[in-house]
Structures are given as structure tokens and as C-alpha cells.
């Protein structure tokens, strides 16, 4: 009697395990299936940029299958990369981004250090204020800023509107608050014993920052740098408002204002330009993905 009962339960249990692992395999298959779908959805526009950029203008306006390149050509790339105008946009974008990243780090790292470690009157309020500033969108500020710079030009004779360096003044309003905020998070996570030891050994506050905090929080600094670069490279509204002459434009605005002439869209060149414009952030992302994601999640998860 008892042997039968055991016999009966053993296969039962086995079957249950079998079905569970089968469920698991199916769940995995479905996960891969849907992930493939979502990945296709995510990569569709960049891939289509690539496909179009390899086509000649005859093939673009032909009624052939748009998803495939039948006669690949690099003519778009050659045209874009040899046009002085486009190189000028690229150069402007690079200059603006590099300067903005430098300015941002010079302002936000010391400020974050002071706010995280050197408690002073109003420091907590200021830290919260910095975070709130990050929440103010640029679409709220572009009109008053535009008017401010115009008035500034009238009074001092220093013309800021329609010069690429006006962007060096306005971009930090987008990058500095967030970079300061994530650097506060990184600095706050460094054990207090470390800077106490340094102070006891006679280091000044500046030395503590440069010799201890910056090296220890280096991943945070990379994340903040990447963020500042991506934001200043991708910004569209401010350059659209503040610069209009062709030689002062940055890449995104340059592509849109020069390659779209009325109703005529030079799609091959537009897609090539867009792909080249998307390349720097994508390359940085490909190599420094983990820092990128750390910076992205730090803003909301640390606090």
C-alpha cells in the first residue's frame, strides 16, 4: 500500500517540476520575442537613417522598396563632409559642447563639494533649490532670456544674440543644476572618515577636494561629463532662438534650416547629416554605457 503511494507521488512531483521548467522556457521565449519586437521599434529610425544615407537621390525618389539599398553610394557622405557649411556646424557644435562641459564641471564640482560636505548657512535650502532649478524647462525661459540679451546688447553694445558663444551662457542653466545634483549624491556617499583624516593631516578644503574627492568620485564625474556633453550637443530650442546666421549655427539647427528649403527636402543629405549629428553621443554611449546609465538613474534614485 505504502509503496504504491510513493510510486504515485514520485512521477507526480517529477511532472510538476517538468511543467514548471517548461513554463519558464516559454516565458523566456516570449521575453525574447517581445524584446526583439521592442528592439526593432527602437532601432528602426537610426537604421532607416543609415539606409537612406547610402542611397543616391535617384533611388530615394524611385518607387523601389525603401527598406533596402539597391545601389549603395557614399555620395551623400562625400557631399556633407566636404561642404564647408556642414563642417562649420560640426565645429560650432564641438566648440560649444566642449566649452559648456568645462564650464559646467568647473562650476558644479566645487559647488557640489561645498553643499555635500561643508555645511553652511542655507546650504540645505540651496541644494534643494538646485534640484528645483533642474525642473524648470528651457521652454519657459527662452523668451525672457531672448529679451534680456537683446536689452543687454542695447545697453552695453556687446551683441550676444546671433553669436555662437551666447550658447555658452545659456547651456549651463540646463547642465549645471543636474550635474551639481548628481555630484552631491556621489560626494555624500564618500565616507566622512576620509576627509576627516585629510583635514587632520593638515589638508585645506581645496586639497581635500582635488586630492581625495575628485579621484574617489571619478565615476560620478565621468557620468556628469557625459550628461553635460549629451545635453549641450542635443539642445535644439536655444540655438534656434538665439542664432540665425548660417555661420553661427550648431549642428541640429544647421541641418534643419539649411537642408530643408521650403518644401524641398534633400532626404539623402538630411539623413546623412542627422546620422553624423547623432554619432558623437552614440559613440560615447557605446563605450561608456555603464557611466551613462549610472548618471541617468542617479538623478532620481539618489536624494
Amino acid at each position: 500500500m505504502s509503496t504504491i503511494a510513493i510510486d504515485k507521488s514520485a512521477p507526480n512531483r517529477k511532472m510538476k517540476y517538468g511543467s514548471m521548467s517548461r513554463d519558464r522556457t516559454w516565458a523566456l521565449r516570449w521575453s525574447y520575442f517581445f524584446l526583439t519586437l521592442f528592439a526593432m521599434f527602437s532601432l528602426l529610425p537610426p537604421l532607416y537613417m543609415l539606409v537612406t544615407s547610402l542611397k543616391g537621390s535617384a533611388e530615394i525618389s524611385a518607387a523601389t522598396n525603401p527598406w533596402w539599398v539597391f545601389s549603395p553610394t557614399l555620395s551623400n557622405y562625400i557631399e556633407i563632409l566636404t561642404s564647408n557649411q556642414f563642417l562649420r556646424f560640426f565645429w560650432n557644435s564641438a566648440m560649444v559642447s566642449i566649452f559648456v562641459v568645462t564650464i559646467t564641471m568647473l562650476i558644479s564640482v566645487p559647488a557640489a563639494f561645498a553643499l555635500a560636505r561643508m555645511r553652511f548657512w542655507g546650504s540645505a535650502t540651496l541644494a534643494t533649490g538646485v534640484f528645483l532649478t533642474y525642473l524648470i524647462p528651457e521652454t519657459l525661459l527662452f523668451l525672457p532670456l531672448f529679451k534680456m540679451f537683446a536689452t543687454f546688447g542695447e545697453f552695453t553694445g556687446i551683441q550676444l544674440i546671433n553669436k555662437w558663444y551666447v550658447l555658452l551662457i545659456v547651456y549651463p542653466t540646463l547642465t549645471v543644476p543636474f550635474c551639481t545634483w548628481i555630484m552631491i549624491g556621489y560626494f555624500a556617499s564618500i565616507p566622512k572618515e576620509l576627509d576627516e583624516a585629510a583635514i587632520i593631516d593638515g589638508a585645506t578644503w581645496i586639497q581635500t577636494l582635488t586630492r581625495i574627492f575628485i579621484p574617489v568620485a571619478f565615476p560620478g564625474i565621468i557620468a556628469a561629463t557625459i550628461f553635460a556633453f549629451t545635453v549641450s550637443w542635443a539642445q535644439f530650442l536655444y540655438p534656434l532662438v538665439f542664432t540665425t546666421s548660417i555661420d553661427q549655427l550648431v549642428l541640429p539647427v544647421g541641418i534643419i534650416t539649411t537642408l530643408i528649403k521650403g518644401d524641398v527636402f534633400a532626404w539623402g543629405q538630411i539623413m546623412t547629416g542627422a546620422l553624423l549629428g547623432a554619432a558623437p553621443p552614440l559613440i560615447i554611449y557605446a563605450f561608456l554605457m555603464d557611466y551613462y546609465i549610472a548618471g541617468l538613474t542617479a538623478g532620481a534614485t539618489k536624494g
Binding site: L28, S31, Y32, L35, F38, A39, F41, S42, P45, P46, Y48, S61, N65, P110, A111, A114, M118, F120, S123, L126, T128, F131, L132, I136, P137, E138, T139, L140, L141, L143, P144, L145, K147, P172, T173, P177, T180, W205, I206, T230, A234, F236, L237, P252, V253, I255, W267, M271, A274, A278, P281, L282, A286, M289, Y292, I293, T297, A300, T301, G303
Partner: protein, 312 residues
């Protein structure tokens, strides 16, 4: 009362005067250094964020040539215009629909990524985050080309299945759909990354306990995952709501507000009125309508941060 409270203090200070004074100068030096280190930040925020914010309040009360004070005249003018109410409606539809779908898709995709073996997750995450990395202005151009009415890839593919050409950006309803679709495409990866980070922080024991209690997968999500992720979901949604509500790039490039103003949202309309129509005060008044929703979201985010600050 004050005198009584201060008097003993003063005595203590006098008692160890030398020690105190050196300490005090040190304190003074520390706070001075700290203040100097934050000074550029304070100046930046004060001059280029706070001042313009209040300046736009002032601007909104001027007439078009900015020489005469008109009080609330700009707002009265706006309230009487049909386009304004269209913009209000569209901004709300746009922000709410896009955020809901971003959150849903982000949640679902995060689960799928979390589901597969840890070894392959990096690769998938890397691919799925690409829309967030590409500058929105550039990727919107690609979408615009995909939506192109005559030579576009979408209509070609649809024609293959016998579905007639869809006016992706030509018809009001379709244009709204396209704008929201692109916004979801750009924004969903952000939710995915946030949720993935949150999913990883939910302890496995909770799921084991739930499984022992006989919970099915739906109950596990409802009673374990969602409560554990509540904070992240709330803060990410609020962030995204702010960003989506104030969006400019996508609408501007995809439809420029057309057809017949049927996709304009606050930011693009403020640009149209303020820069292209060179009526800066009216544009400033339009963009000021973004403030209430931003303020509400900011209050909630701030409350969350303070709460977490107190917990830690």
C-alpha cells in the same frame, strides 16, 4: 527671556575665549570657502534662471512693442482666442497620453529584460536605450522621413498589405498620433532603465515568500513589485510629465504645430507667437501657462525627496 538665554552662553564664550576665537575663525574660513565655491552656481541660477522666470511675469503684462503696461490684457486676449484653448487641450492630451504609454511600455519592457538571464541583459538594455541617446532633433528627422506621404517607408509597407496611404502628418488626428508616437519612442527607454534599476532592488525573498503563499504572477506584480517600486514610478512619472509637457523639439520638427494648429502645444505655440510672430509678451504669457502643472509636479517631487531624506 532672550537675555536670560544668552547670558550663560556669553559666559562660556568668555571662559574659553582664546580657544573659541581660533575655532570661530576656522569656522568662518570654512563657511567663507564654501560660500565662494558655491558662488558661481548661485550667480548662474539667480541671473539666468530666477531672474528670467520673474522677468517673464513682467513681460507678460506688456503690450507687443513692450512699451506700455497692459496688465492682464494679454491673458484676456488669449482667453478669447480659440487657438489658445486648442493648445491647452492638446498639451494635456499630448502629455498625459504620452506619459501613460511611456510608463506602461517602460514597465513591460523592463520586466522582459529582467526576465532573461543576467548575461544577456546588458546587450538588450544597450539596444533599447538607443532612442534616448540620439539627440531628439535628429531622430525626429528620421521619423519625419519615415512618415513622408509619398516616398515613405511606412506607406510603402502599408500599401504592400493593401492599406491606403495614411496622412501621417497631414491629418489632424493622425498628426497627433504621430507626435505622441515619436514622444513615446524617445521617452519609454528612460522609464525602462529606471524600472529596471528598481526591479533589481526588490529582494528575491519577497517573491519567494509570495510564491510559497501561492500568489500567481499577477498577484506578485500587484502585491510585491508595484508597492516596492512605488517611489520610483511616482518620481519618474512626474519627471517625465514635466519634460513631456514642456516638449518642443518633436512637435516643432514633425509638424511645426500644423495642420491648422492642431498639434501645437504650449512650447511650440509660444515659439510661434513670441519669436516668429515677434510678440514676445504674448509668447511669454503663453509659456507661463506651463507653470501651474510644473509647480504641482515639483511639490510632489520635493515631498518625496524630503521624505526619503528623513528616512535615511
Amino acid at each position: 527671556m532672550v537675555d536670560v538665554a544668552v547670558q550663560p552662553n556669553r559666559g562660556v564664550v568668555a571662559g574659553s575665549k582664546r580657544k573659541r576665537s581660533s575655532l570661530q575663525t576656522a569656522m568662518k574660513r570654512k563657511s567663507t570657502t564654501a560660500f565662494l565655491m558655491t558662488l558661481p552656481l548661485i550667480i548662474l541660477i539667480a541671473v539666468l534662471v530666477i531672474y528670467p522666470a520673474f522677468y517673464s511675469l513682467h513681460l507678460a503684462t506688456l503690450n507687443k512693442s513692450m512699451q506700455r503696461f497692459v496688465g492682464l490684457g494679454n491673458f484676456e486676449f488669449l482667453f478669447k482666442r480659440e487657438t489658445f484653448w486648442l493648445v491647452v487641450k492638446q498639451s494635456c492630451i499630448f502629455a498625459i497620453t504620452a506619459v501613460i504609454f511611456k510608463a506602461l511600455i517602460g514597465f513591460i519592457v523592463a520586466h522582459f529584460v529582467h526576465n532573461i538571464p543576467a548575461k544577456g541583459q546588458r546587450k538588450w538594455r544597450g539596444m533599447l536605450l538607443v532612442p534616448w541617446v540620439i539627440p531628439p532633433a535628429m531622430s525626429t528627422l528620421a521619423w519625419l522621413w519615415l512618415f513622408d506621404p509619398s516616398y515613405s517607408a511606412f506607406n510603402y509597407t502599408l500599401a504592400y498589405f493593401g492599406v491606403g496611404p495614411v496622412p501621417w502628418t497631414g491629418d489632424a488626428a493622425w498628426a497627433r498620433f504621430s507626435v505622441i508616437l515619436v514622444n513615446i519612442w524617445v521617452g519609454a527607454p528612460f522609464f525602462m532603465i529606471m524600472y529596471l534599476a528598481a526591479l533589481k532592488s526588490v529582494p528575491d525573498q519577497l517573491y519567494e515568500a509570495a510564491a510559497i503563499d501561492g500568489a500567481n504572477w499577477w498577484q506578485r506584480i500587484w502585491y510585491v513589485t508595484l508597492p516596492m517600486m512605488r517611489n520610483i514610478i511616482a518620481i519618474t512619472t512626474l519627471f517625465s510629465l514635466i519634460v513631456t509637457f514642456a516638449n518642443f523639439d518633436i512637435v516643432r520638427i514633425l509638424t511645426a504645430g500644423g495642420p491648422l494648429d492642431h498639434t501645437h502645444i504650449f512650447a511650440t505655440w509660444a515659439f510661434r507667437v513670441g519669436i516668429e510672430g515677434s510678440d514676445v509678451p504674448l509668447g511669454a504669457s503663453v509659456s507661463l501657462f506651463m507653470v501651474p502643472i510644473l509647480a504641482i509636479a515639483a511639490v510632489f517631487i520635493l515631498r518625496d525627496i524630503n521624505k526619503r531624506g528623513n528616512e535615511s
